[in-house]
Symmetry: C2
Subunit: 405 residues, 2 copies
């Protein structure tokens, strides 16, 4: 049930035909799937969010940043099929209108509603189709609605992406649920990633905001690349307190445990994004250890997971480990070739400053598995990180060569 797994959250969906109307259709095509969802919490949420670093931000991102300042969020409305980005003043009006229409139906103020959109850039939202959709989704709110919501936010994603977790904490059973969308990516440039994590933990106000950036850095930012983010990228964490525990305070052991649980959910979602990359057939996990710092390890892991040449080599089952070493070299991380130790699928391929005389067929075998682990030990200090990617296939090109048409 994902987002509705934690108590107090309900979800409803509707099929508005947003993509079809955006492209100029005059009626919803038959068989149109849900493309709008509303998430509602019975209680005020403590909410943290991080958004795209792109200088061009979709209207929904700007609106959310404003609404988050009041930290009294109680609902999300998400649409897929049109990004409402580069749409000028009309785009802001439309995003605000979505918040207001949702708030009216849910008896909230507009600043209690966050909005997200994903899809084609540069077209106005088909508001005539969205208005009745909001009404329908609000009318169908259910604590079973999370699964349908995860499907409603998909664009080119092949499968919905959700994660759930339950733990005992602060004298109560705490639940967490997450959903995301974010295909469109061999990795980076510009595929929108939307991700949401709900929990019924009670927390002191502001805790979610304190944790959200660090969790994004260790999960979603290791699949996408921060600097290459789309106009709409959004990651929100909402805690509504329905579990009834003593509010968890920043700096306590409980806060650390909650952070680990949130991170686990976020990493599960991040891996699901990598696995479901457009045209992907393999999940690539890159682990970097003994780096100069955690930040360096993140750079290094991400460079390898994001390299087009590593991706294509892995797709072809080609044991071209030189491309991995080369990506580490341009990642920006500190690197000493004579200290580098590199394994692919458990086989040592590089050590002591040069390639190891390895059984190439074993490396090739590793590359042919559906999940491939690359471990780079940099031998410098104790920084560590993981990143996730997928291989790059001909199918990726086919999907993206013909996206709006």
């Amino acid at each position: 049930m994902a987002l509705t797994f934690p108590r107090g959250f309900r979800a409803g969906t509707a099929a508005c035909g947003i993509k079809a109307f955006t492209a100029g259709a005059s009626a919803i095509p038959s068989g149109q799937r849900d493309d709008l969802c509303v998430i509602h919490s019975s209680r005020l949420c403590d909410t943290g969010g991080v958004f795209t670093t792109n200088k061009i931000k979709a209207a929904s991102v700007v609106i959310d940043q404003l609404h988050l300042q009041h930290n009294r969020v109680q609902a999300l409305t998400i649409t897929s099929g049109n990004a409402n980005a580069c749409t000028g003043a009309q785009g802001f009006k439309d995003a605000l209108q979505i918040a207001k229409l949702s708030a009216d139906r849910l008896d909230l103020d507009p600043d209690q509603v966050l909005v997200s959109s994903t899809g084609v850039i540069g077209r106005y939202l088909p508001m005539d189709a969205i208005k009745p959709g909001i009404a329908e989704a609000c009318g169908k709110l259910s604590d079973e609605g999370g699964a349908a919501a995860a499907r409603a936010i998909m664009t080119t994603d092949l499968a919905p992406k959700t994660a759930e977790l339950e733990l005992e904490l602060a004298g109560a059973t705490i639940r967490l649920g997450g959903m995301c969308k974010g295909s469109g990516m061999i990795h980076p440039n510009m595929a929108t990633m939307l991700a949401y994590v709900t929990t019924d933990a009670a927390v002191e106000p502001g805790l979610m905001g304190k944790l959200v950036k660090s969790i994004a850095d260790r999960s979603f930012n290791q699949v996408t690349v921060d600097g290459d983010s789309s106009t709409n990228d959004t990651f929100l964490m909402l805690a509504n307190g329905a579990a009834g525990n003593q509010p968890i305070r920043s700096g306590t052991l409980e806060a650390e445990q909650l952070e680990m649980a949130l991170l686990e959910v976020a990493q599960q979602l991040a891996r699901a994004i990598a696995r479901d990359g457009e045209g992907a057939t393999k999940l690539i996990t890159v682990k970097v250890t003994d780096a100069f710092s955690d930040a360096d390890a993140r750079l290094a892991a991400r460079a390898v997971a994001a390299s087009s040449l590593v991706k294509t080599a892995i797709h072809g089952g080609d044991p071209n480990w030189g491309r991995i070493v080369c990506a580490l070299g341009y990642s920006g991380a500190e690197l000493a070739l004579d200290k580098l130790h590199l394994t692919v699928g458990g086989e040592v391929v590089f050590a002591h400053g040069a390639g190891v005389d390895v059984d190439l067929s074993a490396v090739r075998h590793a590359f042919e598995q559906p999940e491939i682990e690359i471990v780079a030990t940099l031998g410098l200090a104790d920084g560590r990180a993981e990143a996730w990617g997928c291989d790059l296939s001909e199918e990726y090109v086919r999907i993206n060569a013909d996206y709006t048409t």
Copy 2:
């Protein structure tokens, strides 16, 4: 005749079977093409070079950086099929051995020879095959040899890439010749780019070194991306003075004119690289004007030319200009959406902060041409730059999925 178009430069080539021997062959395959070339100047050259920013540098790059300190270069020996990168101490010995063998044949000191390699990373050079090749190439030196040299440095390049220019300067007729290789790139990560420009201009010692970085920034670095450079990237400019002009001094009008001529040759080569990208069918030229600075303009132009999503859209003839705006947004350049003006193939697609109600079929028609010009006017100051790229096709994936095999 490219590199041998300027007077005093000769070139010779040989077929050594470097790629075949690297992969374990026991004899040169029949029909093996030339994969080694030697360029020789009858006079000492003033030489400038810029090299990869990758922390992992091929042996040849390190050797060249050392040899350039003496600035008395008179020959280049270039091999293709094996990068001699990540090869430890043996790699350095082999690169030095190539310089020494060439120097012996040409009656030079080893530090008067620069060496370059390109190809697979992590394998030792087949020196037994290279040694007789150096002798053969040195024995065949000819002032007609430049065209064969341009073919000998190719790896996955579909065509040799050369440029020539002649101008009257400082009372003499000055000639310039250039050659490069550098496919393997939808754009950035890690395809080796080797580029060389020769001129018979007489210059004061050190002038080539002063100019080379700025010329690379406005040519080759606008096709590749600096931070994503391979282990072997090299750009060298050699001036041997055979034209007999008064030596051109830094800071004079003549130096500016020579710089413009060198830049023109370098940009012709850079465009040839983009046009010949692996699997490319279209050349994309991105012009950015009115940026906050030239450096900002370079960032912005490069981000658009390098975006996988822009490339695939253009490959598919898909008028998805939102992806261009988005790439500008994450480029790092200063950007104000309300001042941005964007044309694709001459059609205005974005202005005044929002998409223009454009004839989509006209944009689509522009995208379907073999050469596509994207012009972004940022409206901030007077910075300007160009970058070049190619579309991303299924063929790119096929080439790179199976490179070493």
